[in-house]
Symmetry: C2
Subunit: 191 residues, 2 copies
DNA sequence: GCTGGACTTCACTGATCTGTGAACTTAGTG
DNA sequence: CACTAAGTTCACAGATCAGTGAAGTCCAGC
């Protein structure tokens, strides 16, 4: 629903910018590079997106949308309430590359809280936390909000450990830890 | 032992660069800005550090050193084996600011694996994982390596969630989750 | 009194950065 | 045919980027 109204040139610009921003970083990639790699002139880039900041925001918005779609698909595919809770961890395996979380990386580069991208980063994390809380409540655990925060921590940590610390089993390991915490919360607080 | 041999000017440069790199990002801060804010000429900066990349590496090295010192102190202050395992989480509360983990942020900006800073980032994460493993072994848990990875994930996730997701309770929550996993591992795998 | 280290001053280089102005082409649509 | 949207070409602005060369100042220690 977002990417449909883009002109062919704009779509190419956004695709190329997304790859380059994610792989090399936002500040490290100039608009000239993006335009050239898109087979488009810089004029077109500015006609379509207005500014580099706006292009960065479009990049984050598009990535967020794809990510949420994947999670939603995994959620539908999951059966029991516990697999639903853990669905975001299952998506991670095929989602994350060796450059970590695009939103965390963008946060590192966007020091200005007023940058249009910052609101999107905020949104993404709040969405995931809320999703955990909703599914945990459905799964019938005590204090779904508190456990949701712990699952968010595990989720973010999995991405960081996998990429930054180059730990290949981090995602699997985080999922196991999440499963254990959920099981304990369902089994009762006395365990 | 590292910062002792620095000249007064170099020390000021390193202090200022550390603050600016952390607060605004590496690419966003130019050497002119650093020199000016240090009350030093650009010539001095290059005479002392040789290049911006080398200054970035010095920044990460100094920060790593301070961090390890803090963890070592907390480790000594801790009593029982379990508090020793959880000591890094206790340091986090007073360590982390609102800009997240300096090493994760640097990773986001340094896309070149050959950058001198990348090795330092790697070192830092491997050091922490090894520390968790050592302390877990001392605490007598099964599979200390596996649990160490889970604690690393919780640790990194705590920093990210606290700063990027603006979750004020993330560190406390991560510590609680870590404590629960350790307790379960000590109580026996059947729980 | 001389030497060497720390640092300054200042003028550069050449590249790269984001962003713009104006005129032109091209293709599709009423 | 006329209109419009998409895109091109190209020259340009003004700033900032990392990094250098050469000469000079200041001061502590031998």
């Amino acid at each position: 629903m977002t990417g449909d109204t883009l002109t062919p040139g704009a779509r190419r610009i956004l695709e190329v910018a997304s790859e380059l921003f994610y792989a090399r970083g936002i500040h490290a990639v100039g608009v000239d590079t993006i335009a050239a790699a898109s087979g488009v002139t810089k004029r077109t880039l500015y006609d379509r997106f207005g500014s580099k900041d706006a292009l960065v925001a479009a990049y984050l918005r598009a990535r967020d949308e794809r990510w949420r779609d994947r999670v939603s698909d995994a959620l539908e595919a999951a059966g029991d309430p516990v697999s639903r809770v853990l669905a975001p961890f299952d998506v991670l395996g095929s989602w994350v590359a060796d450059r970590g979380c695009a939103f965390v990386n963008a946060f590192a580069e966007l020091d200005d809280p007023g940058h249009p991208g910052r609101a999107l980063i905020d949104d993404e994390k709040r969405w995931l936390r809320a999703l955990f809380a909703t599914e945990l409540e459905r799964a019938g655990v005590d204090d779904p909000d508190g456990l949701a925060l712990q699952l968010l921590v595990l989720h973010e940590g999995a991405l960081v450990a996998q990429a930054v610390a180059a730990e290949p089993g981090a995602i699997r390991s985080a999922r196991a830890a999440a499963a254990q915490l959920v099981a304990a919360a369902r089994g009762g607080p006395g365990v």
